[in-house]
Amino acid sequence: MMLAQFLPEQASEFAPQIDFLYLLLVALTAFFTLGIKAVIIYFIVKYRQGKKADRSNPQHHHTKLELTWTILPTLMLVPIFWWNAELFINMYEPLDVSKARNSLEIYVVGKQWMWHLQHPTGQRENNELHIPVGRPIKLTMIAQDVLHSFYVPAFRVKKDVVPGRYTTQWFVPTKVGKYHLFCAEYCGTKHSEMGGYVYVMEPEDYEKWLEDARWGMGNFRSAETMEAAGKRLFTELKCVDCHGEKATQRVPLDGIYGTERLLSDGRRVVADDEYLRRSILDPGAMKVAGHEPIMPPYAGRVLEQEILELITYIKSLSAKPEPVGKPAAEASEARGTE
């Protein structure tokens, strides 16, 4: 019970693991702090000026002792580093791919001073996030203006939300409830008001919420999935003129997601969300070898959430046909030898 007051609620798979490490470090800190302070007080009492004490043969150095208190703490730090590293990697680049595959992907746009969140099925929320319990959640996040940081203490997760670049984080909520959502990176006047709540729900409640949210927000676009919205934008922004199926001299986007692309400057880049985003905004910087540099930069012409919708659509073009790995690799191979 005492402990509970010093720890926030544990509502994700990470929480108990991080708390274990935290408490281990607390124990270590307490041991050294109290131990050394006890020794200091003991010395002060024993060797205080005027007190009778054995002060013969005072030593000034002792190499073995020095080595002991150098090497022992070093050794102690090795397992601590190890446990931490494992957790850290799992949080940002999960080694367990199966979990990552089956995750629910939520898109986060941070702006002064609110969080804008979108579910793949199209539902949008501001400063509130509804998620089902027990399912891995992947957040793909970007900021529209300055740095922000998406922080949910009960999940023990935090990652900066950076303008110009996607950052991701991943967690599995384990406990139904309502938890604080904070912005942890200073972002200006209303930094402390940039937050809200995360609601972890039973899966069936979540399904019900999705249904309500779809029709209940009074926003017809909520009825659209992200993919559909992306497809609509694809036409509205004239992407179809060159990338659409009917385009003359078509540059197809089918199947490119996740493949390696050879750029005109000789670099190889995996076509991930980040790559697609940059290709839309600043095509010159991401020019693929063998293509004419005719695509106009879209920087300043699309909103961050629209880019996310476009990316979802482009991804869907890759999800349909055959197993992704093989032909894609061959395709990039072919481009490489061009």
Binding site: D265, D282, G284, A285, P293, P297
Partner: protein
């Protein structure tokens, strides 16, 4: 006080015991100062390396907007000034103040020539709207990268140019001093220190020239 019991050398400042200690201190101080300068430029060079990698096509395109011939002339000018500066230090050590003044004059003239050429380069960039900011204009796909290149170009060459300007002033003061004291025996250390600084300014340009003018390839 112990200093007064020693014979008082007019070239020796009160805090030092002897001229050797004084000379060593000044030279070491200058080297340590130059280390800070290395890191001062180093921060920007790091930014240049990273952005060049991120926006390689844009940087290659932007390189072409610079005139490698003007940059080359400036390199030769600065190398020459570095050489005459080294000679000035030599003359100073030989206590040949006439030669020293001559070499310093050439050095200053080279420095001024460098600044004049730089001025022409800058004004061409202003004319072509290649100065980052609201007036920046560049046709083509790579606006962001090109603007970054010119941002770094102006920051790097601007700071370097500032160092050249400071060099001109310092050498000017040194020349005045040497001329004023030409009848007396002088300490060569001030000249050596100015020389170290000036060679450092030259080294910065030795890196800036290929980085900014050449790495996109040049066409004769």
């Amino acid at each position: 006080m112990s200093t007064e019991t020693q014979e008082h050398d007019p070239l020796l400042a009160h805090q030092f015991e002897d001229v050797e200690q004084q000379t060593d201190s000044y030279v070491l101080g200058m080297w340590v100062f130059l280390v800070t300068e290395v890191l001062f430029f180093g921060g920007m060079i790091l930014a240049f390396i990273l952005y060049r990698n991120m926006y390689f096509p844009a940087f290659a395109e932007a390189h072409q907007k610079l005139d490698w011939r003007l940059g080359g002339v400036n390199t030769i000018v600065l190398l020459t000034s570095s050489f005459t500066m080294a000679m000035a230090v030599w003359a100073s050590q030989k206590r040949d103040y006439g030669k020293q003044l001559m070499f310093l004059t050439i050095t200053v003239l080279c420095a001024l020539a460098f600044l004049v050429i730089k001025y022409f380069e800058y004004s061409a960039k202003f004319e072509h709207h290649l100065v980052p900011g609201t007036n920046f204009h560049f046709d083509g796909q790579n606006q962001n990268g090109v603007q970054l290149f010119f941002g770094l170009y102006f920051a790097l060459t601007g700071l370097h140019g500032f160092h050249v300007l400071v060099g001109v002033l310092v050498i000017g003061v040194l020349m005045f001093r040497v001329w004023k004291l030409r009848k007396q025996e002088q300490d060569y250390v001030p000249t050596e220190l100015v020389g170290l600084y000036w060679h450092f300014v030259d080294i910065v340009w030795i890196f800036l020239y290929p980085m900014l003018y050449l790495l996109g390839g040049v066409h004769i």
